[in-house]
């Protein structure tokens, strides 16, 4: 059992040994002070400079590495490295989409030449997903730009869409990039996956190093297959206990972000371990890692195990080699949670760290509910929502928008039976509950998008959403108020017309 080890010289960052047990509603003095201290200490952009550690004279004592450090060491062909070090890393997969792809390609061509070829046509995965089902001409043009580049470069994995009127008429089209990457087997333990999207960290659920980068960095990777990355120190989150049946991974990550703040993990890796994490499905692990960036995290990781291998079985032929944190690995901080003490949460407007108990927001009247996105639009997210609607048997009191993340999720929503329903599918349950018809798969209104985006918030309304950010204007209207929540909480709220703890229906 890994003991709590604090990274020596960076204890200047966070002086307290932050061992938290799960908190209930009392905002304790402890939480307030550590939050304030953490905020102040995150001021430094640079990780503390470490002098290179030398092996002992016998050569047999080595510094233990964390999972993240090991991946970066292997990818940079080093045997040792320390947090704070900048290393050139070999990239296994580069992903881009319709918003950032065109810019990245522009830079690639400017820097490497009009006739330059990408470093590896099988390692670039191009996934249009952000602004797809819209009449916005520039948005449509951007998908064309992706296509032209893929044709010219003979890119192997391009999940194209041409017929915008009928997503099903596009055999290659997938939908939301982070979910597609997982479903198509591009996420493998031990690898380095970079993407031009902040939620690329989702793939860390597979025990790999995955993080978001910008167009310029992506242009560089396109030409070289490498990038200069700074090795992050790791924060370890130990979650133990049986997951209560009204809680989902979304509640766990909202708990954590509320604890450490939106800058609590800046430049750091977040490693999730413990019996609770081990009990999570791959999709739940993806939800957990997805919002690492909302705490400022560089990447999130869940160590690979049988759950991971099973998921990957039918999906990838490529060999992979998982890595794990050494027993002697040094962690910057360790946080412990007793999951059985946690309750369903929301993040109130306008910050993902504005944590509150769902039950304490029951007087907040809402105007709409949105269930979708890489965070909360996967198959299991819809199954979870359906479970709540089924338990209630009633109809929703507010417009409830459902946007499956990918084609596959959409098909699952229409075909998989929901346990305890006597064979009904999610779609049937949603229909009976009076939800909107599940829409074409894409990122949808999670980030607002072009004005005609389905479910975009064009008026100042209050929305409970299974998405990942709620800064001002996130879903469209600047004065819109977004409460981030789990699919259980979102469904429960839809049924009452107020922010609602799902235990109202699940117990």
């Amino acid at each position: 059992m890994a003991s709590l080890t604090i990274f020596p010289s960076s204890s200047a960052f966070i002086k307290k040994d932050v061992s938290l047990s799960a908190f209930s509603s009392q905002p304790s003095f402890y939480v307030k002070s550590s939050k304030k201290r953490v905020c102040k200490k995150i001021a430094s952009v640079m990780a503390p400079q470490q002098s290179e550690r030398k092996p002992s004279t016998t050569g047999s004592v080595k510094t233990g590495l964390t999972l993240t450090e090991k991946i970066l060491a292997r990818a940079s062909e080093k045997t040792q490295l320390v947090p704070g070090e900048n290393v050139w890393v070999n990239v296994d997969i580069l992903m881009t989409h319709d918003v950032c792809g065109p810019g990245a390609f522009g830079i690639f061509k400017k820097e490497f030449g009009e006739n330059a070829k990408v470093w590896d046509r099988e390692k670039v995965v191009i996934i249009p997903d952000h602004y797809i089902f819209t009449t916005d001409e520039r948005a449509n043009r951007n998908v064309d730009i992706l296509r032209d580049f893929c044709t010219e470069q003979n890119i192997k994995y391009f999940y194209d869409i041409k017929d915008l009127g009928n997503f099903k008429a596009n055999p290659d089209y997938k939908g939301v990039c982070h979910v597609a990457l997982a479903q198509e087997g591009h996420c493998r333990p031990g690898e380095v996956l970079l993407g031009t999207d902040s939620h690329t960290c989702t793939a860390g659920a597979f025990g790999q190093f995955a993080t978001g980068i910008g167009n310029t960095d992506a242009g560089f990777v396109l030409g070289t297959g490498k990038l200069l990355l700074k090795v992050p120190p790791t924060l370890r989150f130990v979650m133990d206990g049986e997951m209560p049946d009204y809680l989902l991974a979304k509640d766990l990550i909202l708990q954590i972000i509320g604890e450490i703040s939106v800058a609590g993990a800046t430049y750091k890796a977040m490693e999730f371990v413990g019996t609770t994490v081990e009990s999570l499905t791959m999709e739940e692990r993806m939800t957990l890692c997805n919002m690492v960036v909302e705490a400022g995290g560089k990447n999130g990781v869940v160590p690979a195990d049988n759950t991971t291998y099973k998921y990957l079985e039918e999906k990838t032929n490529l060999p992979y080699e998982p890595v794990y944190s050494d027993g002697q690995a040094r962690f910057l901080q360790e946080y412990k949670f007793d999951v059985s003490k946690l309750e369903p949460l929301v993040a109130k407007p306008h910050s993902p760290d504005n944590r509150a108990l769902a039950r304490e927001c029951k007087d907040v009247k809402i105007d709409r509910v949105y269930i979708g996105s890489c965070t909360g639009g996967k198959t299991e997210d819809f199954m979870a929502a359906a479970k709540v609607f089924l338990a209630s048997g009633k109809k929703v009191k507010v417009p409830t928008f459902l946007v499956p993340a990918t084609q596959k999720v959409w098909m699952d929503v229409y075909s998989l039976p929901v346990p305890g329903s006597g064979g009904k599918t999610c779609s049937q349950i949603f229909e009976e509950a009076g939800c909107d018809t599940p829409a074409s798969p894409s990122c949808g209104a999670c980030l607002g998008g072009p004005r005609d985006t389905y479910a975009r918030m064009n008026e100042p309304q209050v929305c409970v959403s299974t998405t990942n950010r709620n800064f001002p204007g996130r879903m469209g209207h600047k004065e819109g108020q977004v409460y981030l929540a789990s699919p259980y909480t979102a469904a429960a709220s839809a049924l009452t017309g107020f922010v609602t703890d799902p235990r109202e229906f699940l117990q």
């Binding site: 952009v45 602004y131 520039r138 910008g214 310029t216 800046t266 998008g449 004005r451």
Partner: protein
């Protein structure tokens, strides 16, 4: 001089100049943003513009790195000067450039300008003085002063690009979100400066400020209030910024071939 200046379109400013005699790294980096070659490596394009357009203050660089080794004069000082626009903590990328404008492709010169015209349009209406005046496409503020976690949220490179395209030369923040910081360094669009403490609490939008980045110490001078604030050294990103961005740095260190 005027003729040379007019060959450069508005967006062609290379934001950061470390004035050295042979700035091949400079040219390489400026080609990142320019459709045509830069042929005045020792001058900041923005300095040209400010000479023609005196009321729009941009960055003034003092080319102090000479070939001599006189102790004081040999230190490189980068300065930025202009009006500042003050914002708070956690200014996320949706406030810097709302998602609906992300259909604009930054590497397209016309769309680059358009992005600039929307910079910080996402700030709530509680910000009564807007960053860009109605009807204008550029901002009169060349320095943004922010609090904690500036640029949090998305990885969209459109964020530092929009700020740069609107006329911002540097941002001074208490801390940055990592992807925004990285993108600022990689593109060279805005120089991300870190402050000690929170000058955003005391500075007011419209104050005239100067940022002085020296080798041993750096400071923010508020001429309107008369106060000075300590700034932090750039740290690891220094060599990359100095080389002229990630591509120039990679060429310089032999990671990719020179052009």
């Amino acid at each position: 001089m005027a003729a040379a200046a007019t060959t450069f379109s508005e967006h062609s400013a290379f934001k950061l100049v470390s004035c050295r005699p042979n700035s091949s790294s400079l040219t390489a980096f400026s080609s990142l943003k320019l459709p045509f070659a830069a042929n005045s490596p020792n001058y900041s394009f923005k300095a040209w513009k400010s000479q023609l357009n005196p009321q729009r203050h941009h960055r003034i660089t003092s080319p102090l790195r000479s070939t001599t080794t006189t102790p004081d004069a040999a230190s490189t000082v980068t300065t930025f000067h202009g009006l500042c626009y003050v914002v708070g903590d956690n200014i996320d990328t949706d406030q810097i450039i709302p998602a609906e404008y992300l259909t604009l492709v930054p590497s397209n010169p016309v769309e680059y300008e358009k992005l600039g015209s929307y910079a910080l349009i996402g700030l709530p209406s509680s910000y009564e003085t807007r960053f860009i005046d109605p009807g204008e496409i550029k901002s009169k503020y060349s320095i943004v002063i922010g609090g904690d976690n500036f640029g949090c949220g998305s990885s969209r490179e459109h964020a530092p690009v929009a700020l740069g395209a609107s006329g911002v030369a540097a941002v001074v923040a208490e801390s940055y979100a990592r992807i925004f910081f990285r993108n600022s360094v990689a593109t060279g669009e805005v120089y991300p400066v870190e402050s000690e403490g929170k000058p955003c609490k005391e500075c007011k939008t419209g104050d005239v400020v100067t940022i002085e980045l020296g080798e041993s110490d750096s400071k923010l001078i508020n001429h309107t209030s008369g106060k000075e604030y300590k700034l932090k050294p750039i740290g690891d990103a220094g060599p990359v910024i100095e080389a002229g961005g990630i591509f120039a740095y990679a060429r310089k260190t032999g990671m990719i071939p020179s052009r």
